[in-house]
């Protein structure tokens, strides 16, 4: 918990939110203690005074200092806000979890009721309740709480439904846990975080609404005062001195914003979609050229379609930067299929995303050189709008990226054909008719049967394998020079996997595109690719033709190959395994594989082996090619 929250407040906006909310909290706690007496000092001789050095915001109709009154009112305002929010959230939890506890029949009735309640405008509901309960602080809190309950109930319901779909609820049911137990043990703890975040955001709007009710005279009653009431009192003198009447208003807005921004920042850090996303994320525009990197590999190859030299990807971690990708160099030539393998967490995806310029803040990317199709993608400091635009156009038309989850690149709300056609119009310069025909032709090319009809369907009408094909269709709409496919078949069963791999092969032959195929499974990659890069702990540790995989020289590569059972595996023996797991990104001493390597010795543990080129292969290992004497049985 601590880390994401700390991370949350590292962006400037979030830091501002933290400062604001702290000030509000401090004022609420200490305001009345420090200025309480001063704020109620009546001074008839100085009524409705304009702002002055003594009275920053002037005085009210009884000559009391307005600025201190605003400060003192913080406590009551915040307390009432929290009270109303608590009522709303409790009501929301009650009604939101009701359908689950009550079972399908009664559940439906509750859901129906929530649906109607949500449809009423909140403030109207609050006014309605406020009038029923009569004017007064606690009845206003109750009114606002009840008015915000439906939307919290809806939120809870959605969250609960999400948790119910999880297998751990199924596992609990199988082991005989009842509904109530599942609610307490599994559901509530898991919806807590998003609920708190949304309650914080909601508190901001409750604060505003409460000010509204007090302003209308339905909330706090004299002699007590909150910001809304102060606003009402000040309004009488708005023509006399406007600054005075604005002060409580400013307080309301700032405090409301403080709650809102705090909630949004938390939501952002915890990866929760809040009710209204402010879009705190910024895209990285370009990669950074790092002239300080001195290159020990060869100079950039000119005729490669992709030429990467000493690529790094880092993330800020406190004052430091951790580097999940620590200096990767490789070439891909036109029409060639190259595999990138390694366990998850080794930096394969980050490498691919960096090449495709798809990494977002706070990721940092730097390299000695990154050339795609003859164009340097790095920002060498002399970039202008034109070059950036040209670069984006190049990436948009000549590089395609295919992910494991097709829904990352298909829009669920639009017809598949339209999505392809739009690409053709925007990037390919085709007119409507041409784009439509090309889209249908491409859907056919990715072996989708009856492409005309399919083009008019939505992604959800496609099966998993078909969606994957449609995404590949999106990728090849514009005849790319390079296709990067990141675990494109990991979620699919073997037959569909085989079809997708065949398809990628065929497109490569027909359109002459190069392919970078990423997978954790060597047996998948070797079927399609002629050359294989093996990655471990953020570096390439071996490169070899895939025909030579069975004679790989790096212990890691050999263990990866041996770990996959095939139809000839000896079933009387335990499968070879790789004990332990890849290291977390961070400082590494010696060979990064040494903690798991059966050949590791003292030199391996103290000195990192260089990546040595030998003909068309590269390997980084002190004992490259030596037999693996003992393949240790795993005890993690």
């Amino acid at each position: 918990m601590a880390t994401p929250i700390k991370r949350a407040f590292r962006t400037p906006l979030a830091f501002a939110a933290l400062v604001m909310i702290s000030i509000v909290a401090l004022l609420a706690i200490f305001g009345p203690i420090i200025w309480g007496a001063q704020a109620s000092e009546v001074n008839i001789s100085n009524m409705l005074a304009p702002p002055s050095w003594e009275h920053w915001a002037g005085t009210d109709a009884l000559g009391r200092d307005l600025f201190t009154r605003v400060l003192v009112a913080t406590r009551l305002t915040v307390l009432l806000t929290l009270e109303a929010t608590a009522i709303g959230v409790s009501g929301g939890i009650l009604f939101g979890c009701g359908p689950f506890l009550l079972g399908p029949r009664f559940g439906k009735a509750v859901t129906w009721f929530i649906g109607i309640a949500v449809a009423f405008p909140g403030l109207l509901l609050a006014l309605f309740f406020a009038i029923i309960f009569g004017a007064g602080a606690s009845s206003a809190a109750l009114a606002l709480g009840l008015a915000s309950a439906p939307s919290f109930a809806r939120l809870c319901q959605t969250l609960v439904a999400g948790i119910l779909a999880r297998d751990y609820v199924g596992a609990a049911q199988i082991s005989g846990s009842g509904r109530f137990r599942i609610l307490i043990r599994h559901i509530l703890p898991n919806i807590g975080e998003p609920l708190i975040v949304n309650a914080t955001i909601g508190a901001g709007s409750v604060l505003l609404s409460f000010a509204g009710l007090s302003f209308l005279g339905l909330g706090v009653q004299a002699p007590a005062y909150d910001w809304g009431r102060l606003l009402m009192e000040c309004l009488r003198s708005i023509y006399v001195h406007p600054i005075a009447s604005v002060t409580p208003g400013v307080a309301v807005v700032l405090a409301g914003l403080a709650f809102n921004l705090t909630g949004e920042s938390l939501a952002h850090a915890l990866g929760i979609t809040s009710l209204g996303d402010l879009g705190l994320r910024a895209k990285i525009r370009s990669l950074r050229h790092d002239p300080s990197i001195t290159l020990d590999t060869d100079e950039p190859t000119q005729d490669a379609i992709v030429c990467v030299r000493d690529l790094h990807v880092g993330f800020p971690a406190g004052l430091d930067i951790v580097e999940p990708v620590r200096g990767v160099s490789f070439d891909i030539f036109a029409g060639e299929a190259v595999g990138l393998v390694g366990e998850s967490g080794c930096g394969k995806s980050l490498t691919a995303l960096a090449v495709a310029q798809l990494l977002e803040e706070p990721a940092q990317v730097w390299a000695h050189s990154l050339i795609f199709h003859g164009t340097e993608l790095l920002d060498c400091g002399n970039d202008n709008k034109e070059t950036t635009k040209a670069r984006n156009h190049l990436l948009g038309t000549s590089m395609a990226m295919i992910f494991q989850d097709p829904m990352t690149s298909l829009n669920p709300t639009r017809r598949v054909g339209e999505q392809l056609a739009e690409l053709g119009r925007v990037h390919g310069g085709l007119n409507h008719r041409q784009a439509r025909l090309r889209a249908i032709e491409r859907l056919g090319a990715v072996r989708i049967t009856n492409p005309e009809r399919r083009a008019r369907q939505y992604p959800y009408e496609f099966s998993g394998g078909m969606r994957q094909r449609a995404m590949i269709g999106v990728g090849v709409m514009l005849t790319p020079k390079l296709i990067i496919a990141d675990e494109p078949t990991t979620a699919l069963d073997v037959i569909v996997q085989e079809q997708i791999l065949d398809l990628l092969g065929a497109i490569r032959r027909e359109d002459g595109a190069a392919l970078l195929l990423i997978s954790h499974d060597v047996s998948v990659v070797r079927e399609v690719c002629s050359r294989i890069l093996v990655m471990y702990a953020g570096r390439i540790i071996e490169e070899l033709p895939s025909a030579d995989l069975d004679q790989a020289r790096h212990p890691y590569t050999r263990l990866l190959v041996a770990a996959v059972p095939n139809m000839t595996t000896d079933i009387t023996q335990p499968l070879p395994t790789i004990p332990g797991r890849p290291p977390e990104p961070g400082p590494i001493v010696g060979c990064s594989f040494s903690p798991r390597c059966p050949l590791a010795d003292d030199r391996c543990r103290s000195t990192d082996p260089d990546l040595i080129t030998n003909g068309n292969t590269r390997v980084a290992c002190w004992h490259a090619g030596q037999p693996l004497v003992q393949i240790a049985e795993v005890v993690e």
Partner: protein, 247 residues
């Protein structure tokens, strides 16, 4: 006696107008103390059949029996346990490893000590007992799947249903989990239905398997016999599709 038998089991979803027949009159027997493999493409009904056995999917027709008696679908201390495909979805992220395991065994352990029960179960799956205090997020995929296996064992089940338990893992952890499955079934004399879409994986853990295709069992028999002379067209396709296979 812990022979699990599906008698003419069907599972239908949806309304009568849009009916989806996920499982179509399946007859299948998982022999006592051993592993029966079940292969088939995604969407062929493997998982639905598995979920029906543990009461997570509604059975439209047929019965499921264990040792001749109907499998209880309600109440504590059930004789069937299930291991799911993706351990990051099947473990509660807010519950420590130890608590997850202990909670699952509530019905089965009598007056046993919590600590020693958890330690015992973790050591069965070759995990350091210190992980009892860890949360799933702190473990690797392979370690998480070991926890899920320990949790399945906690209720002292007679039958375990393993649904694609290595599909979401790296190949490097897959081998270790397969070794563990074989070891546990031998040691604890468990009955297991082992579901996978990968024939090479099924071949490694089980001597018999069944092939499911669009809701039906289309082939069943000795692993080596089916591989040598597959009788159904789909089985032939499956054999041809194995990466690096013998095709």
């Amino acid at each position: 006696m812990s022979e699990l038998t599906f008698h003419d089991v069907s599972v239908h979803f949806g309304t009568s107008r849009h009916r989806l027949i996920a499982v179509d009159h399946v007859n299948l027997t998982v022999g006592s103390a051993g592993i029966l493999g079940l292969v088939g493409e995604s969407g062929s009904g493997k998982s639905t059949l598995a979920r029906a056995a543990v009461g997570l999917a509604p059975i439209t027709t047929g019965t499921i029996t264990l040792g001749g008696k109907p499998v209880p679908m309600k109440g504590k201390n059930r004789p069937l346990a299930m291991i799911f495909q993706d351990p990051s979805a099947s473990l509660d992220p807010r519950m420590s490893v130890g608590d997850s395991i202990w909670e699952a065994g509530r019905g089965a352990h009598g007056g046993e000590d919590k600590q020693s029960t958890i330690t015992h179960l973790l050591s069965l799956v070759h995990l350091d007992p210190k992980h009892a205090k860890s949360y799933p997020g702190q473990l690797s995929g392979g370690q998480r799947q070991r926890v899920a296996i320990a949790r399945a064992l906690a209720g002292k089940p007679q039958v375990i249903i393993a649904d694609e338990i290595t599909s979401s893992l790296d190949v490097s952890s897959q081998g270790a989990i397969l070794n563990l499955v074989r070891e546990l079934v031998d040691e604890l004399a468990l009955t297991m239905l082992f579901i996978s879409h990968n024939l090479a994986v099924v071949r490694y853990v089980s001597t018999r398997f069944a092939v499911m295709y669009s809701g039906r069992i289309v082939e069943e028999g000795e692993t080596s016999a089916i591989i040598d002379t597959p009788s159904h067209e789909y089985t032939r396709q499956l054999l041809a599709a194995i990466p690096g296979g013998s095709s």
